[in-house]
């Protein structure tokens, strides 16, 4: 057997309280960042126009800016995208004109300067669409969490379900917080990545919970902390291996997927790392903190009273 992790007996739960406090602080920080600093919302959410053009040779950004300013696009932002031959131009939403046609005017202006400019990508999002996407995105996350909560409650127990939801929200919020901290652009693909992270992280947490449930039935002795500890240790090897393979795949996407996929892959990367941690600490420790007891996990025998005090 080749083993990265061999029969660990780490007392994860000894630091459970500390971990929960750290996680809680991080989540609060993330929320504070989101509220105070805000997100660098991408075009999908703010509306506006984005044009990606390709030049036959390297081009200096100030030249592009000058051409655009001369054509009346003083508010246009230009930056290299991927290579120095590709330029990404953003124009904030405008009200006064039919903005659907701005991209055509930008291209015409650039081609007036250099006829070989190639249109690579145009995105225009009207303000009303952006607003809807923000609402739908928030709702989607909420629905995903509710759906997972219901399933885990039916299959396990509500404290474990709540612990899982805590872990998932924790992962999503920390990704959002980091995107806010570094002001990395948050667009639709990043939102999709966060939902994928929720999916991945729930997978991770459920594996641990499943083992907790099993161990409650098998280990007649031992406190709840012992059982949770044993469960986390027993699944640790699997957690590390799966995170490892997923990170390998995501790394390939980050390095080779091209600039369009960059932020998406970055969000996944952060999410998988945080998700691995949260499935070890937040889900299990959360359930313990919520007052999980042995009786909750043993299937009630007929006519036996179930202790449902929290």
């Amino acid at each position: 057997m080749r083993e990265l992790i061999r029969d660990t007996r780490i007392d994860f739960m000894r630091h459970g309280r500390v971990a929960l406090i750290i996680s809680g602080t991080l989540v609060l920080l993330a929320i504070a960042l989101f509220v105070v600093r805000g997100m660098s919302w991408g075009l999908d959410f703010t509306g506006g126009t984005m044009v990606e053009v390709g030049y036959p040779e390297s081009v200096a950004i100030p030249e592009v800016r000058a051409t655009l300013a001369a054509a009346g696009f003083d508010d246009a932002q230009a930056q290299h995208f991927g290579t120095s031959r590709e330029v990404l131009i953003r124009i904030p939403p405008r009200g006064e004109l039919d903005s659907a046609d701005l991209s055509g005017q930008v291209l015409a202006a650039l081609r007036g300067d250099n006829p070989d400019v190639e249109m690579r990508r145009v995105e225009f999002v009207g303000p009303q669409v952006g607003q809807e996407l923000v609402e739908q995105g928030g709702l989607a996350m909420l629905y995903a969490l509710i759906g997972i909560m219901i399933y885990v409650t039916l299959r396990f127990e509500w404290r474990l379900a709540l612990g899982t939801i805590m872990a998932l929200s924790h992962d999503a919020l920390i990704v959002i917080g980091l995107f806010s901290l570094f002001q990395i652009e948050f667009d639709l693909s990043v939102l999709a990545a966060i939902l994928a992270v929720i999916g991945y992280s729930v997978n991770d947490s459920v594996v641990v919970l499943d083992r907790i449930r099993e161990n409650f039935r098998r280990m007649r002795k031992g406190t709840i902390l012992d059982i949770v500890n044993a469960s986390v240790n027993q699944t640790l090897s699997r957690t590390v291996v799966t995170s490892g393979t997923t990170l390998l795949a995501v790394l390939a996407l980050l390095l080779l997927g091209g600039p369009v996929m960059n932020n998406f892959a970055l969000a996944l990367m952060i999410g998988v790392l945080v998700g691995t941690y949260s499935s070890i600490y937040v889900a299990g420790a959360g359930a313990v903190w919520l007052g999980l007891k042995r009786e909750d996990m043993i299937p009630p025998k007929p006519k036996q009273e179930v202790d449902d005090t929290p």
Partner: protein, 620 residues
């Protein structure tokens, strides 16, 4: 104890994998840049003669297609590269004129025998093949407004015929139709008229029987909206056909939106102009009894006339009554008037329109007939921080001519600025008018080179991710790792097969979904293998360890995958375009990875180790 599957389980696994392989196979052949030629109208045929002409013209331009297939009134020419394809398309567009549409296409290079069996490669999204995606919003307020304005005109006619005099007859800004009666005694007569002719309206009476407020019923409004949306979709479809696009998608989204996807279209400005404009014509008799210059100066127009201007700013007084509108036009083509040498539009009318046109022109020989060109463009303006949509209507007299003869079904109009204008007008008239103005509220265009980059980068990333995971598994779990590698390859084949079978759109986020699935797919195998290792450590025999390992891991795998599937389904339900693509591949990947981990891995393990009685150790 032995681990063996019944023969039929192996059979099922084999069948699924072979079916998957067959469905995935067409993707190996890639796609050829192609030009697709089809008749622009039902009356035009595309036969062997056209085929010969096309081939002849291409050989003169020294462009050689790889293959040329004439099938079902469509000629498909495949080329070695996009450069040849673009040159061929330009040459043929100029040569064939507007009887045929010449569209750029990516034709699957699947062998014919596979095509016959209904096998097709995955459908690539616009971000991978290049093209335009528009989301358009139909101005539903305008639909209701137009209906109410039509009611005003109908009512005006009815009241005039019944000689009932009104103080007001208008559509107030708050909506509905307001009628003010000069004499309250006419109320019953008016109600009678409305009951007989406009019974679908709800009537409110106010101001001691002096005013009536008419409103459309909610279900009527809903019906008109539905109709307007449907009509707009039809019109857009016709216009897209005029643009010459292979495999366009025009679909309703929600209650007032339309998605238009045009693969391969590059010139988005022209596409927007053609799709978004609403143009129509009105034919009116000229009011020759009054002086238009005087009317233009004083701003007062005679009761039965309206003031228009032509392109040079010259005023014209035209009769309020419209003879026919653009709705009656069934065909329009552009050309040159052989007498004056001016660009002209040749128009054909439908039955009702031509009868009416014949009557009016016949009764008015020697008088002046005006053609009014009406174009509506929509703009979004910001008023007090709110986005407000405003329609701007340009109405101009484009032609005034003396009626020399009774005009009937086919005739010609001149007075347009250029041949291009004549062509555009003919196109718009042919394609029909939009029932309500539309606004583009979202556009996503990807150029062909960017699309190719996306495919290359996505494919490369997926390949490397795949290789990394396979190498890791082989090294870490040795023989069992190799078994899971086989299952992972089977999983990949099944994902591609499912995408090809469903003809789901593969987008760049979709490729990302596949990559994520590669990483996660091994999870099930990891869970099983770790369990087997644990069982071995407990001192169980290898065969018992295999059996317990698989069965104990099963419930975990199920729970973990179902919860991930919930997230994927929510993504799919909420998702627009790119997100949906991601959700689709993620969901498919979850299902196939469960099959491959539980069935394929188990099958292979049973096959290779399950039958050995004296198995001492496992290479895990």
């Amino acid at each position: 104890m032995l681990n063996q599957y019944a023969w039929w389980k192996y059979l099922i696994i084999g069948l699924v994998l072979v079916t998957g392989l067959i469905y995935a196979l067409p993707n190996l052949f890639g796609e050829d840049p192609a030009v697709q030629i089809s008749p622009a109208r039902a009356t035009v045929t595309l036969d062997q003669a056209v085929y010969s002409r096309v081939m002849d013209r291409l050989s003169r331009a020294e462009i050689a297609p790889d293959t040329a297939v004439l099938e079902n009134q469509q000629l498909l020419l495949r080329f070695a590269d996009t450069d040849l394809q673009l040159r061929a398309a330009d040459t043929l567009r100029a040569y064939l004129g507007r009887d045929y549409t010449v569209a750029l296409n990516l034709a699957p290079a699947t062998p014919t025998i596979m095509q016959r069996l209904g096998l097709a490669p995955m459908y690539l999204g616009l971000d991978l093949r290049g093209g335009v995606h528009f989301l358009m919003e139909v101005d539903m307020a305008a639909v209701v407004r137009q209906s109410e304005e039509a009611y005003v005109e109908t009512l005006r006619g009815l009241l005039r015929d019944a000689r009932i005099r009104t103080t007001v007859l208008e559509r107030p800004d708050s909506g509905g139709v307001r009628v003010g009666l000069r004499d309250a005694g006419d109320l019953d007569a008016v109600r009678g008229l409305i009951d007989r002719h406009l019974s679908e309206l709800e009537v409110d009476i106010g101001n001691q029987g002096q005013t009536l407020l008419l409103n459309m019923r909610d279900e009527d409004i809903a019906e008109r909206r539905r109709f307007a949306l449907q009509q707009n979709i039809t019109t857009l479809r016709n216009r897209v056909n005029e643009l010459g696009v292979a495999e366009p998608i025009i679909q309703q989204q929600g209650s007032d939106r339309i998605v238009v996807q045009l693969p391969g279209v590059q010139d988005t400005t022209r596409a927007k102009e053609i799709l978004g404009a609403t143009a129509t014509l009105e034919f009116r008799l000229v009011d020759e009894d009054n002086d238009p210059f005087q009317a233009a100066q004083t701003g007062r127009t005679p009761l039965n006339s309206l003031l228009f201007f032509n392109r040079e700013g010259q005023p014209w007084l035209l009769q309020r009554q419209i003879i026919i509108t653009g709705d009656s036009i069934t065909d329009a083509s552009s050309g040159i008037d052989s007498q004056s040498g001016q660009p002209a539009v040749f128009i054909t009318l439908d039955g009702t329109g031509s009868r009416r046109f014949e009557d009016v022109t016949g009764a008015n020989i020697g008088r002046l007939l005006a053609v009014v060109f009406i174009e509506t463009q929509t703009e979004i303006r910001e008023v007090d921080g709110e986005m407000v949509r405003e329609s701007f209507t340009t109405e101009e007299v484009i032609n005034v001519a003396t009626i020399r003869d009774r005009l009937s079904r086919r005739f010609m109009i001149t007075g347009l600025g250029s041949s291009q204008e004549a062509r555009d007008l003919a196109l718009l008239l042919r394609a029909g008018a939009l029932a309500a103005p539309i606004t583009i509220i979202e556009e996503r265009t990807v150029g062909p080179s960017a699309g190719q980059d996306n495919i290359n980068q996505g494919f490369q990333a997926a390949l490397i991710a795949f290789a990394l995971v396979i190498i890791f598994m082989g090294l870490y779990y040795r023989m069992f790792g190799l078994v899971s590698d086989v299952a992972l390859i089977g999983n990949m084949v099944l994902i591609i097969a499912a995408l090809s079978m469903l003809q789901a759109t593969l987008t760049l986020p979709g490729i990302a979904g596949i990559i994520l699935t590669i990483g996660m797919a091994v999870d099930a195998n990891v869970l099983i293998f770790e369990r087997i290792r644990e069982e071995l450590k407990f001192g169980n025999s290898p065969q018992a360890a295999i059996n317990t390992g698989f069965s104990k891991a099963f419930s975990t795998i199920l729970d973990a995958n179902v919860t991930t599937l919930i997230a994927a389904i929510v993504l799919f339900g909420f998702g627009t375009g790119p997100i949906k693509g991601f959700a689709v591949t993620l969901s498919i990947g979850i299902v196939t990875s469960m099959f491959s981990a539980l069935m394929v891995t188990r099958g292979l393990v049973n096959l290779s180790y399950g039958g050995r009685r004296r198995l001492q150790t496992l290479p895990i």
